[in-house]
């Protein structure tokens, strides 16, 4: 039980511990409610600690390979076979980076839930599903096997759909959940069909081994289109964004924060497919332009749809769509330049910007949704016109909201500024219009959040508002994310070179991804 042993097995442990806890939570719930709360929080903290250790090891060393059921974790290819037979987990920089986001947001959501769902029934299963969402995200992020990706995508979608419908007595919650469920199961079936196409041609399921033999035939192209469409739908990019506001709005606030991280897991899958599975065999210019176009559309449509909203969470959901556009733009520019001589000069910077924006978005959007939940907890409405003067009673929430709003608008010294600047600078080299649109969207975002701040927090105190702020556990949940925002905003240089760069490097270097599982590329 030494540190090396723990690090070697940590990819499997990170899946197994929350999974075991999810199976046990309903059992513990029947015995003691307090014990269940403590158990869930302890499990989330353990997951966070193991994840940080694993991520540190990956960022400073090399990718972790874990072969399920083999004689040793690194024995990916059995002696007599030429290809990987068993399921391989491959935790490289990008996977570890996404894993950090998932565990951090889950920890914040776990703390926040303690008070937020205190008055509900069925809490045992609520926490079980929360842990299962974490399992689904980590499973998607760590896996090196394409069918396994589908399985954990389904774990994630089912857990999210069930949690969106947690407050089923509102009616519209179940409706949003149904919509989410239909969209995600159709998307998952498209993914499964694409997996069938790939399997039928190559008789392989391991992503690295597939990438090694990928020929980019007609069937591969059709599979690529299906995969991009399905994952773009799941991450809420614009032509397929209809489900996002509906389901984000009605979910309980901690779950909305988790959903942000969940759609980023789909975004990760999209990037992984484009960069690691297809890589340079695909037509990077065309696919890059498609992804940039998706990004621009998402940014612009999302922010314009957000402006007239009266419902605070609906407004934030449209902003989530718009922010997803920045990530697609940044990484799309990287994909567009992949393999061209310009990649090293500013293509890498664009990828770093896009990837840095993923973690920033998870932190500040998660925080904003949590503050919206705190407001709902206090005043029992999401309508902006019915609230006002909350700054008088909710001091902490006001501060958290201000930090989140300034970060999303890209105001220095918060983290949103750092990643947006990287995207502006590098997208400018491809086409100045990209940067101009991005900046414009950023300004509209600021305007929109000024409006929210004004109508929710300013003005005379509400007559029927209770005194005091929200319970302590909710403040802890929000504080975890706020600390992240401030740290990332104060030391962007350190974060980019030590966390973001390895992640971008892992995506861009396909040969490394293939080499560590399937032998030399």
């Amino acid at each position: 039980m030494n540190v090396d042993w723990l690090l070697t097995h940590s990819p499997a442990l990170l899946i197994a511990i929350p999974l075991l806890a999810a199976f046990l939570t309903p059992v513990i719930d029947r015995i003691n409610k307090k014990a269940r709360d403590a158990f869930v929080i302890i499990v989330l903290i353990i997951a966070e600690i193991i994840m940080i250790a694993l991520a540190w090891d990956v960022f400073t060393g090399s990718a972790h390979i874990y072969t399920m059921g083999a004689s040793s974790p690194t024995a990916t290819i059995p002696a007599q076979a030429a290809v990987p037979i068993r399921i391989v987990l491959e935790v490289d920089g990008m996977s570890a980076f996404m894993g950090l986001i998932s565990t951090t947001v889950s920890l914040a959501a776990g703390f926040y839930s303690l008070a937020f769902v205190k008055k509900e029934t069925g809490q045992g299963r609520y926490y079980a599903l929360l842990l299962l969402m974490l399992v689904g995200m980590l499973g998607m992020e760590f896996t090196g096997d394409i069918f396994n990706l589908f399985v954990f995508l389904e774990v994630l979608s089912m857990a999210s759909a069930a949690l969106i419908a947690y407050r089923f007595y509102y009616g519209d919650a179940v409706e949003g959940a149904f919509k989410y469920c239909v969209v995600s199961s159709l998307g998952a079936l498209m993914v499964l069909f694409a997996i069938g196409l790939l399997y039928g041609q190559y008789d392989l399921l391991n992503m690295a081994a597939l990438a090694k033999v990928m020929k980019y035939t007609t069937l591969d192209r059709i599979a690529l289109v299906l995969l991009i469409a399905a994952f773009a739908m799941k991450c809420g990019a614009v032509p397929m964004h209809m489900w996002t506001p509906d389901s984000y709005t009605v979910a309980p606030a901690p779950i909305t924060a988790m959903l942000v991280a969940a759609s980023q897991a789909s975004l990760y899958a999209l990037f992984r497919i484009c960069f690691s599975l297809y890589g340079l065999t695909l037509d990077v210019t065309t696919v890059g332009i498609i992804i940039i176009a998706l990004g621009l559309l998402s940014m612009f449509v999302g922010v314009t749809m957000a402006l007239p909203q009266k419902d605070i969470k609906r407004l934030m959901s449209y902003h989530a769509v718009s922010q997803t556009g920045y990530m697609l733009l940044g990484v799309g520019v990287g994909l567009y330049l992949l393999g061209k001589p310009d990649f090293d000069t500013y293509g890498m910077a664009a990828m770093e910007g896009g990837i840095f924006h993923i973690i920033n978005h998870a932190l500040y959007k998660g925080l904003l949704f949590l503050t919206a939940g705190a407001i709902f907890y206090k005043v029992k409405t999401r309508n902006l016109n019915e609230m006002g003067g909350l700054a008088h009673s909710m001091k902490f929430t006001t501060i958290f909201f201000m930090i989140g709003a300034l970060a999303i608008a890209g105001i220095p010294p918060f983290n949103g500024f750092a990643s947006k600047l990287l995207i502006y600078e590098s997208a400018y080299h491809v086409s100045p219009i990209l940067s101009i649109i991005a900046m414009l969207v950023s300004i509209i975002t600021l305007a929109s959040f000024v409006k929210v701040f004004h109508s929710a927090f300013m003005g005379p105190p509400m007559e029927n508002a209770e005194e005091g702020d929200v319970p302590k556990s909710m403040i802890i949940g929000m504080a975890i994310l706020t600390v992240g925002i401030i740290l990332f905003g104060l030391f962007p240089g350190w974060v980019v070179s030590n966390i973001v760069h390895p992640a971008a490097q892992a995506l861009a270097a396909q040969a490394g991804y293939i080499g560590s599982v399937a032998g030399g590329a």
């Binding site: 075991l20 059992v27 059921g69 004689s71």
Partner: protein, 159 residues
């Protein structure tokens, strides 16, 4: 129709389904335990077992079944099955090298290695496969019947 709660089907259906229930369960157990030798396994056998419980729900009514085996009890059964699965998987890297490794091959329990090619089937083979089949069977029996029971009870709430 003629129960005290006005639930369930006629006495003929009740008695016959009560009689064949144990046989279906035994068949389900057979399919689960021979999963590594014949077509079948945990899911298939579990589905057979769950259909036996669903037959009882149809014949006797949801409320009557709930008194004997409530949805909470059934889903507890499921949780135990899931826990058993993960524990066996975790034992993989305590007893052998990696998560989910088949550490029982070659040992005394289920560890025999059959002769290559056609053979009549030896039950004591398969390593952890029979145990996992059993865990999954438990899970499926508990889970599917709990779902049907919950749905039947909710549709009863309306009237």
């Amino acid at each position: 129709m003629n129960d005290e709660n006005g639930e369930g089907l006629s006495p003929i259906v009740k008695i016959i389904s009560g009689m064949i229930f144990p046989f279906i369960m035994i068949f389900s157990l057979y399919v689960i335990m021979h999963g590594h030798l014949t077509p079948g396994g945990g899911f298939q056998g579990g589905a057979i077992g769950a259909s036996a419980i669903v037959m009882l729900i149809v014949a006797f009514g949801a409320r009557h079944t709930e008194k004997r085996a409530g949805e909470e009890k059934l889903s507890l059964f499921e949780s135990i099955g899931g826990t058993l699965f993960v524990l066996v998987a975790i034992l993989g890297f305590i007893m052998a090298a990696t998560f989910m490794s088949n550490f029982l091959v070659g040992s005394a329990i289920f560890g025999e290695i059959p002769p290559f090619g056609s053979n009549p089937g030896i039950l004591n083979t398969g390593g952890i496969l029979p145990i996992l089949n059993f865990a999954v069977g438990m899970k499926v029996i508990g889970g599917l019947s709990a779902v049907v029971l919950a749905m039947a009870l909710v549709s009863k709430e309306d009237d």
